[in-house]
């Protein structure tokens, strides 16, 4: 009899009906309850730290890409460690998938079983995120699950590094292990790891990370059993139920206090330039994905997030599974609103996420998810809506402009020791921190999905690949401009230093488009790009002790690193499929900054000059965006000249600005003539044919009747 499958069904109905769970034990003895709660949190944190300390991979040890959680028997997380918070939804989704697919009957659940999942459609972001799931039994009864997840930097995908940007379908994403039973009695099946070793470029990362995860899950399992010995099984079960409800209550109570009720909009874009010649893509179709968020906040603090009209999935690597999209929104709500509550699956009951099926945010079985960046981009921009909601209630110490998305550089080939290597580095994942109404964004801050992400020491990574860093710097003008400016991400310059041939390297991540929303009149952060210089004179520069390129430089039209090295310059988009490089080739990578807050002409001129002195901003931007005048010798602000310049710049705005109604007339003429470039036209028609929401928004805005159905082709069809 499938007891847990039935319980899961009942629970789903209760959640849909927003049915509360009675709180009993917490009221009876709050101290006992709190102690037990913190012991559970301690257990999962202990599991994570153990795995991190014994892992041999830089991803886990150096970058901190792992997370552990304790679940109830139906896959709801009751205690979660720090780490990749994205997976609060995904590991539970995997447990629930097993219940939905009759695993209780076959293969059944037994003490010591090791289940394994890295299939993102079941639960997760991409095949690089690999979860070990173990049932916990107490006196013969399944009472909980423990999950440990690490990010692996090689999965046998179409490119090395575990997150192939060039993936066009699921079958390019690497080896999938869809909730398989891969071990018994707390021991992996040896043949499973033989398969992993044979199917990926460098099996040591996968196998050693698996051992680290298993050590962590066994530790949590043993600790949980010990705790049940002390507090009793009935109390443990009740504690789990009440923790979930406390998670929901604390989340909803917080939102009710700090977020103003109403409707908020933030449409997000993500460009996929597959037709760019540098990408040599076998399906060279360009995409510009649209994720049009509408957030509704109710009087009781319940939040609804709706993406009706979202773009279809496509032949690129930036699709996202539903569990990944949900996980993204959970961590965003957790970090930006629910951060002082009880964090577990209960939080997810305080909001509803509506994502259209078969969309780029819930992409289904066939599509590649290795980079999953549309979902990341959507939650980065989601912060823009939350910023308005906070501002209205007066809690201006909270609330942010759009956050920065991020990137990661990867490479593979034969290393300096003659071994096959596959490495992903995270210095591009530590992007610009968010900007608030009170503070500039922090440079090189974190990655939203894992607030503990660490870019790691170059020297550690240099032991694992034949590439060396020539420089890691804060990108000048890398954040959005505003009264408070955005945080900038890093710009790194690498060289293929060792005596190796054919190093394959690419970058998943940020877009060329300018999409990281500014707020309240601030500009979005600039677009991203990558470069390489091949056939260089690097060796000559070293031998003659001439200056080497260490930083990008402050003039985007004349980059310093491109001036210092001679060779063939190659330009790539912000997310790039891998290319082949040889010894002494130079690679350059950038990642996202966050949006600015407020009108740049309101920025304190002294803050602009302070940024200028330390190369956080350029002379061009200081003069032409911020309207600041200073004495170049003393670096002192000329207040009178600044005020005059800013007054002139405001006059120029009034001169060039068009009254909105006139602007709309001009735009409407373009709409009726179908005068829209091909990629946006395709994006619109896709949305129009999938949902009435965006179509009706167009009709209403431009005063079009129902006969207008989209941008028609010569046959009168609306096609994308």
């Amino acid at each position: 009899m499938e007891i847990f499958k039935q319980q899961l069904e009942e629970r789903r109905i209760a959640r849909a009906e927003r049915r509360p769970i009675p709180i009993v034990e917490r009221h009876k003895d709050p101290v006992k309850w709190e102690v037990a709660y913190w012991r559970l949190l301690g257990l999962v944190s202990e599991g994570r730290e153990l795995a991190r300390q014994i892992s041999a991979s830089p991803t886990v040890k150096e970058f901190g890409e792992c997370v552990f959680a304790l679940f109830n028997p139906i896959g709801e997380s009751i205690a979660f460690s720090r780490g990749i918070l994205l997976h609060m939804a995904s590991m539970g989704s995997s447990i629930q998938w097993m219940l939905d697919h009759d695993y209780e009957e076959d293969p059944g659940f037994h003490p010591g079983d090791i289940f394994y999942n890295n299939d993102p459609e079941i639960g997760g972001a991409h095949s690089a995120d690999q979860a070990v799931l173990q049932p916990i039994f107490y006196e013969g009864e399944l009472v909980a699950w423990v999950g440990g997840l690490t990010h692996c930097m090689e999965v046998g995908g179409t490119e090395p590094g575990g997150m192939p940007a060039a993936a066009l379908s699921r079958y390019d994403d690497g080896q999938m292990v869809p909730c398989m039973l891969v071990g018994k009695n707390d021991k992996f099946d040896r043949t499973f790891h033989i398969m992993c070793d044979r199917n990926v470029r460098d099996g040591k990362w996968w196998i050693l990370d698996d051992r680290a995860k298993l050590a962590g899950t066994v530790k949590v399992k043993d600790g949980t059993i010990k705790l049940i010995d002390e507090i009793g099984l009935d109390y443990f079960k009740e504690l789990g139920r009440e923790m979930l409800e406390e998670g929901r209550i604390s989340a909803q109570r917080k939102a009710k206090k700090v977020l103003f009720p109403g409707v908020y909009q933030t449409p997000t874009l993500y460009d996929v330039p597959n037709a760019d010649p540098s990408q040599r893509c076998r399906i060279p179709w360009d995409y510009c994905c649209l994720a049009p968020l509408e957030m509704t906040i109710e009087d009781n603090g319940y939040v609804t997030l709706d993406y009706d009209g979202c773009t279809s999935p496509g032949f690129h690597s930036n699709n996202s599974s539903y569990s990944c999209t949900l996980g993204n929104h959970i961590y965003c709500m957790l970090q930006d609103v629910y951060y002082d509550g009880m964090y577990n699956n209960g939080m997810a009951d305080a909001f509803e996420l509506n994502v259209p099926e078969n969309s780029v945010l819930a992409s289904g079985h066939e599509y590649a998810c290795s980079a999953w960046l549309v979902a990341v981009q959507a939650v980065c921009c989601f912060a823009h809506s939350l910023g308005y909601a906070y501002y209205a209630t007066g809690f201006r110490e909270e609330g942010q402009a759009g956050k920065a998305s991020q990137s990661a550089r990867y490479a593979g080939g034969i290393d300096q020791f003659g071994s096959q290597f596959s490495v992903l580095v995270f210095d591009q994942s530590v992007s610009g921190g968010p900007t608030t109404s009170q503070q500039d964004g922090l440079h090189v801050a974190n990655a939203p999905w894992n607030p503990e992400t660490n870019m790691a020491d170059c020297e550690m990574i240099e032991l694992t690949w034949p590439i060396m860093w020539l420089g890691r710097g804060i990108q000048i003008d890398g954040g959005g401009f505003g009264r408070k400016r955005g945080g900038a991400g890093p710009s790194s310059i690498y060289v293929v230093e060792h005596d190796v041939e054919n190093v394959q390297s690419g970058q998943f991540g940020s877009t060329d488009a300018v999409v990281w929303w500014g707020s309240n009149g601030g500009y979005p952060a600039p677009g991203r790009y990558n470069y390489a210089v091949t056939d260089t004179n690097y060796k000559e520069l070293v031998d003659k002790q001439l200056p080497l390129p260490h930083i990008e430089g402050d003039n985007p039209n004349d980059f310093e690193f491109l001036r210092l090295v001679k060779g063939t310059i190659k330009e790539y988009p912000g997310q790039m499929a891998s290319d082949m490089y040889q010894r002494y080739d130079i690679l350059q990578a950038t990642t996202g900054g966050s949006g600015g807050w407020g009108d740049p002409l309101s920025r304190d001129p002294q803050a602009v000059v302070d940024d200028l002195k330390v190369h956080f901003t350029s002379e061009y931007v200081s003069k032409n965006i911020y309207g600041v005048v200073w004495d170049p010798k003393t670096m002192e602000v000329d207040v009178a000249a600044t005020n005059a310049k800013r007054a002139e710049m405001k006059k120029a705005r009034l001169a060039r600005g068009i009254p909105a109604q006139e602007f709309k007339k001009q735009q409407k003429a373009k709409v009726l003539a179908g005068d829209v470039p091909p990629v946006p036209k395709s994006t619109y028609n896709d949305s129009f044919t999938r949902s009435d929401k965006i179509l009706n928004m167009f009709r209403e805005f431009y005063g079009l009747d129902e006969s207008w159905k989209g941008f028609v082709n010569e046959k009168g069809e609306v096609k994308w």
């Binding site: 009710k256 401009f481 677009g527 946006p680």
Partner: protein, 162 residues
């Protein structure tokens, strides 16, 4: 009820958007008070150069005020944008950066987006020329209605809190 926690000077600095780091951290760490909304409105009312009653701070430089029994959007400079249920952008000045040259003025070199994929749209107050919003959107995308407050829901909420 948690009330009167912060001095007026702290809230005034918060409104100016320049709260010093340690004070900011203190506000972020503290339990959120129940009277923040009313106190911010009170302090804002003293700051603005006009007398219409502020009922909501919509965003930096924009307020919803009560005037002749209607709720309208008003700039700090006094410019009135009309009914709050209509997107204030419908009555703003618009400047769209839809060419390489216009985009290059803000985002130089490869930092600028491809104008065949997206545009940058700036909205200014027609009176004081303050920049009120910047939209990174697809060409022809309708104006984004960033925030439509629900005052009825807000009143219901306040009753339950009181």
């Amino acid at each position: 009820m948690l009330k009167g926690k912060w001095k007026d000077e702290i809230l005034d600095e918060l409104i100016r958007g320049n709260l010093e780091s340690n004070a900011l951290l203190e506000l972020q760490r503290a339990a959120k008070e129940d009277d923040r909304f009313d106190r911010i409105l009170e302090r804002e009312q003293k700051r603005v150069p006009w007398d219409d009653k502020i009922v909501l701070c919509l965003q930096e430089n924009l307020y919803i005020v009560e005037k002749n029994g209607r709720k309208i959007v008003k700039c700090i400079c006094g410019h009135e944008f009309g009914d709050y249920k209509v997107n204030w952008k419908e009555n703003a000045l618009v400047y769209e950066r839809d060419t390489e040259e216009k985009l290059e003025e803000i985002y130089q070199g490869r930092r600028k987006p491809d104008n065949k994929w997206q545009v940058i749209r700036e909205f200014y107050c027609p009176s004081c020329a303050v920049m009120l919003d910047v939209e990174p959107v697809l060409p022809l995308y309708p104006f984004v209605f960033a925030f439509q407050p629900d005052f009825e829901a807000w009143e219901r909420r306040r009753k339950t809190i009181k």
